[in-house]
């Protein structure tokens, strides 16, 4: 690969150039014939309404999405070429849209960044230094030990940025990085990027953003609409071209005529005088504690009916928690909240009908289309069904969803998803709306339209609106706002009074001063002044590492991540280890090979001592339990049909007499054949007993002469002479458990990432598919080997199953076998995309073959058809042979060679198949 400087030379003209690029999702055309050169070494902004293709464009440039039409060149090479993608991947950092979508919720802040550091091949010391740097400069350092899942939305965004910055990219791609981030943090965020760029002037940054005041500070902008480029140029060029005072206005001016027409500035009529002080929402000393942590600290407010009440505050200050307490989702630790004068009661269905709530993260059904989501909620809120279609049309029009009615939410950009959530929250025309950052990620035009709706609702319909936001211009539109920090309300007043109070120019300034005051008081020890950005200090900057096709460090990055997740979930470990022992015992004890306690009854038409003797011969055995006599054929039929009798005998009249005279007599026996195996056993028993009885008769009658033709059949049950069920079952249960549990865990480990979104790290980091698969597999192989040792120890020392062969051979067989079992799980994960399908798929594809076709019950050689074929290729067959051979038959490597070979072949074969089926780019 050419030296990075060389590549940068090319990039001084364009870091990315697109020629006739198009992209479709099903019927939807996301990008259409885009031709664009993005200049290098600049801060480039991508602006435009929601759903115009900004994210798709970024995903193509980052190499996360496969190129459908046209040509994409990034850092001097074709992104359609896998080799170039691999080579440039370490030089690109991509932070996807959505709050922490590429993060791992159970890992701590530090561990998340560390994971990415390893993926990009930094050594320990280097990594630690860099992580300390980025955490310090983003203000996350005090939270280094907190799990990412427990961070507030804004903190997740910062963490996402840390993860993107860890490897000194030449091209930094940020998809709406400051959505949902509070103004103070946003300022810090951009000064952080500025700092990095100062240190590394060669770095190009491409950002999609919905904040026009941010875009105004960028070097170069691309305005997009409906999959097309509207205009490019510096902010001042765009302002000049459209003759607009602000970028907001310039953007609106750039829009096509019909969209512009719909836009109008938000007008807020003053609230009319209230007839009576009607309080819709009230809280009194509301407090929430999570352990020692006080999330919300004695918050009190009273919100009048029809008021628009804004809630502003830094990320993680307790806004969301307060809202959840108001809706009854979280019970308050202290204090009380009431809606319409009634205490909030989670079980009060009536109150829920009067409230609309929109949570911060998207929480609608991703498996339902937009229309189906709206329809479901309309019905749940008990709208009269004849009015539902009209109501859906109405909100679809209001929120401009008409074009997306039949799309699935996952296919929609964030802004449209937010609008859908809002539409759902308002579908039932509630009297109170509780909206948690409803406009995060929504474009300016749509935001204005949305606010117009809120204002109409408040002023005309007297709807009370409780809204949290990070947009200051939205804060200014509220009747009153509360500023919140660290669980406490700093001030509550009208926006104008707040600005006046601080003598600030704007609400944002006032807000930041309040915050700085509050932080100054409480956070001197935790928040050191923003450190100068040292990431790019020239002396330790090495050229970007162009990974070899297989890199141990990258693989161990995934191993470590997976192991940490396992460690954080001790219940999973206990279930995997001890659950297996319990199963082994239950099945070993429960499956007994000889059948006894069989019920039988007799229809004795003879009633002599001979017939009684015959019956006693059967009843006296331990296998059969005699039931009350059968009265007639009807009784016989009825009792057999109900399953009460497994065996029925009929002894004919004159049985004793005819037998004594040497006449042919016949005893009739009926066996219940519903369960063939049991019937077979009964048949064997009855035949044996009948023969025994006959021999006895002959002996008593003919004496010694009868011994002609007498013989003994000595049955030797080898390997388990006492026919103990534990000895028979346990060596077969170990292979069964070591298939089911590892396959299930391995399959879920990959599909989980697919379902929860972090699979994108496979797409945009240098990790190769083989590294990824092995990294996923190794922790589960280690875990499974621990299970193996535990199972074997229990089998030998607790269940007292004699172990006669080579323990080493058994262990080596187990190692190969769990490699194959996890491999099967991973293979299943490569074609399933939901966890539900992965669980069912793994269960059906491992349990049936392992239990039925692999020699645990029936020898493989005796099987027919598809079952025989599966039995011959499924790894369990061979490990069952090894387990039984080493446990019971005293065998070692030499004797079991034939069973090792297939296992040794299966492991790399499964790994290869998984790597081949797994996709390295989204499609």
């Amino acid at each position: 690969m050419s030296a990075p400087d060389n590549a940068r030379g090319v990039g001084s003209m364009a870091v990315a150039s697109l020629r006739n690029v198009g992209l479709s999702y099903g019927r939807t055309r996301a990008l259409d014939d885009i031709t664009l050169d993005i200049p290098a070494d600049r801060m480039v902004g991508l602006i435009g309404p929601d759903g115009v293709g900004k994210s798709s464009l970024l995903a193509l440039i980052a190499g996360a999405h496969v190129i459908q039409d046209g040509q994409v060149e990034v850092l001097g090479g074709d992104m359609a070429d896998a080799g170039h993608r691999r080579a440039t991947c370490p030089r690109i950092a991509f932070m996807p849209q959505g709050l922490g979508k590429n993060l791992y919720p159970t890992l701590s802040v530090f561990e998340n960044v560390d994971f990415f550091g390893r993926l990009f091949g930094h050594a320990r010391a280097e990594r630690d230094r860099r992580i300390a740097d980025v955490l310090q400069s983003t203000g996350l350092a005090p939270f280094a030990g907190r799990p990412a899942g427990k961070l507030s939305g804004g903190m997740k965004q910062k963490l996402g940025l840390c993860c993107a910055l860890i490897h000194d990219p030449d091209l930094l791609i940020l998809d709406e990085p400051t959505t949902g981030v509070d103004p103070l943090s946003r300022r810090q965020f951009w000064s952080l990027i500025e700092g990095i760029r100062r240190g590394r002037p060669g770095m190009s940054v491409i950002v999609a953003t919905a904040y026009m005041e941010e875009a105004a500070r960028f070097d170069w902008l691309v305005a997009m609409d409906a999959g097309h480029i509207l205009a490019t140029g510096s902010p001042s060029e765009l302002l000049a071209r459209t003759d607009s005072p602000t970028l907001d206005a310039a953007f609106i001016a750039l829009l096509p005529e019909e969209m512009r027409k719909e836009h109008r500035a938000v007008e807020i009529p003053p609230r009319g005088p209230l007839a009576e002080p009607d309080i819709a929402i009230a809280s009194e000393g509301l407090t929430m504690r999570f352990g020692d942590f006080v999330a919300v600290d004695h918050v009190s407010f009273r919100i009048g009916r029809g008021e628009i009440f804004g809630f502003l505050g830094s990320n993680g200050c307790g806004k969301t928690t307060t809202m959840k307490m108001l809706t009854g989702l979280l019970p308050a630790s202290e204090g009380r909240a009431s809606l319409f004068g009634r205490a909030v009661d989670p079980n009060d269905i009536e109150v829920r009908r009067r409230v609309g709530y929109m949570s911060q993260s998207f929480s609608l059904y991703s498996e339902l289309t937009v229309r189906q989501n709206l329809d479901l909620h309309a019905r749940l809120f008990k709208l009269p069904s004849e009015t539902i279609p009209a109501r859906i049309d109405e909100v679809a029009r209001r929120f401009d969803l008409a074009g997306a009615m039949d799309d699935l939410p996952d296919a929609l950009p964030l802004g449209i998803r937010q609008r859908l959530s809002l539409a759902v929250a308002m579908i039932h025309s509630p009297e109170v709306l509780i909206l948690d950052e409803p406009t995060s990620g929504v474009d300016p035009v749509a935001r204005d339209a949305f606010w117009q709706i809120l204002v109409d609702l408040s002023r005309h319909d007297n709807v009370t609106i409780f809204i949290s936001t990070h947009f200051m211009n939205e804060g200014e539109r509220c009747d009153r706002i509360s500023l919140m920090h660290a669980g406490k309300v700093l001030v509550t007043d009208t926006p104008r009074n707040i600005v006046a109070e601080r003598g600030a120019a704007t609400l944002e300034d006032a807000f930041i001063r309040y915050l700085e005051d509050a932080i100054g008081q409480v956070q001197d020890r935790t928040q050191p002044p923003p450190a100068p950005i040292g990431i790019a200090s020239a002396e330790d900057r090495r050229g970007p590492r162009i990974g070899p096709s297989f890199d141990l460090r990258r693989m161990f990055s995934y191993v470590q991540r997976e192991a940490l997740e396992l460690k954080r979930d001790p219940i999973r470990l206990v279930l995997a280890l001890l659950g297996g022992v319990v199963l082994m015992f239950a099945t070993g004890y429960g499956i007994n090979l000889d059948v006894d306690n069989l019920s039988f009854a007799v229809l004795d038409r003879d009633q002599t001592t001979t017939s009684e003797n015959y019956v006693l011969n059967i009843a006296g055995s331990r296998y059969f339990v005699q039931q009350r006599p059968i009265t007639d054929y009807g009784d016989l039929d009825r009792r057999m049909r109900s399953g009460a009798l497994s065996l029925a005998l009929e002894i004919p009249a004159n049985f004793a007499r005819d037998a004594a005279r040497g006449r042919d007599v016949q005893i009739a026996a009926w066996i219940d054949g519903a369960m063939p195996q049991r019937a077979e056993t009964i048949r064997g028993y009855v035949r044996g007993m009948h023969a025994g009885w006959l021999a006895e008769q002959v002996r008593t009658r003919f004496g010694k002469q009868a011994s002609v033709g007498q013989f003994r059949l000595e049955i030797r049950y080898r390997y388990n002479p006492n026919i103990e069920s534990l000895v028979a079952i346990v060596p077969a249960m170990i292979p069964l458990l070591l298939m089911l549990i590892p396959a299930m865990l391995a399959a879920l480990s990959v599909v989980r990432e697919k379902e929860l979104g972090s699979i994108i790290n496979l797409y945009v980091t240098p990790v190769t598919r083989v590294e990824f698969v092995l990294g996923k597999q190794i922790p589960y192989i280690v875990l499974s080997m621990m299970s193996f040792l535990l199972f074997t120890a229990f089998a030998i020392f607790i269940f007292r199953v004699p172990f006669t062969g080579s323990l080493l051979a058994f262990a080596l067989g187990a190692l190969l076998y769990v490699g194959a079992a996890t491999g099967i799980g991973l293979l299943i994960s490569s074609f399933t995309s939901s966890q539900m399908a992965a669980i069912f798929g793994t269960a059906i594809l491992t349990m049936l073959p392992a239990v039925q076709f692999c020699g645990i019950i029936h020898p493989v050689a005796s099987l027919e058809g598809l079952g025989a074929l599966i039995g011959r290729i499924f790894p369990t067959t061979y490990f069952v042979t090894i387990a039984r051979g080493t446990f019971s038959k005293g065998l070692g490597f030499g004797d079991l060679e034939a069973a090792f070979v297939p296992l040794a072949i299966a492991v790399p074969l499964l790994l290869g198949a998984t790597a081949a089926l797994l996709k390295k780019q989204a499609r």
Binding site: R353, G643, A659, Q677, H690, I839, I857, G885
Partner: protein, 370 residues
Amino acid sequence: MRTANVLQLGIKELRGLARDPILLALIVYAFTMAVYAKATAVPETLNKASIAIVDEDRSPLSERITGAFYPPYFTLPALITPAEMDRRMDVGTDTFALDIPPEFQQDLLAGRSPAIQLNVDATRMSQAFNGSGYVQSIVSGEITDFARRYRSAAAPQVDLNLRVRFNPNLTVAWFGAVTAIIDNIAMLSIILTGAALIREREHGTIEHLLVMPVTPIEIMLSKIWSMGLVVLVVSSLSLVFVVQGALSVPIEGSLWLFVLGSALDLFATTAMGIALATIAVSMPQFALLVILVLVPLQVLSGALTPRESMPEIVRTFMLGAPNTHYVMLAQSILFRGAGLSAVWPQFLALLVIGATLFMFALRRFRSFLK
């Protein structure tokens, strides 16, 4: 509780399921190919059991015995030397090795009651036990016939006329096909309902539901009816088209009665799925719990080995599992043609187990939502 909510939420579940083509394909596989493969894998209780004979007698009698073993029950016997026997059994070539000692025929006719030795590989589980019964009966049949010609006095001719009802040829496929369906019903219903609930939690949608006028019991019932219905429909179709159709298994009793029994069983298993989902915190934990529950359900319900073979305590314990009663009623209705008058105890048991599980799940679910 409002039935409209239950209906709407259930329809939502069905729509979600329809969006997962891989899952649908797996369900179809489970109720067609998997059932067929399991039913046809073992055609008879004893099929192609491998046997070797060490004939140290080389008499007409020993040859007669050797000739009595043939497919499909047994493989054609391999004639081996005593030295080969251990090795062949060790590596698993033979399940049975019959050792006919020298002078066997002579001793037999002289009334010296000679011994014939049958070595059985006990690790071969059911084949070992069923098969040794067969071997025993074949060997004694041959010897008795042979000896009768040399015996002076007539022994009493008491015949045992053995008839097997409900499955005269003991075709294993009949029972195997039905148990495959039973196993799949438990597996699918538990996973579908439980995973659907955990997915709602992992995606945050359950929280969303809780701010709406919807009660926990409605959420639970919606999952039970929708997932239960899916499983009921696919299992019934499988019974008609795969079991009755492709496998030509004669069904004696009323299909509708069986479907009713299946519905009761599903009530219990779907409730169990929800209960498990409220115990598990994440999807991987749920998956492990599913394995821990499914294996005993499959292995100890009486479908794999007869209940009569289980120790008392296991048998009693398993009376608490829905599958046990379901296996019983499936046998009674499908093969023995029993009516409601015979199977009502199983119906009642399923209803009681289902109601208990449902109440337990509902209590767990309510506290799980808090």
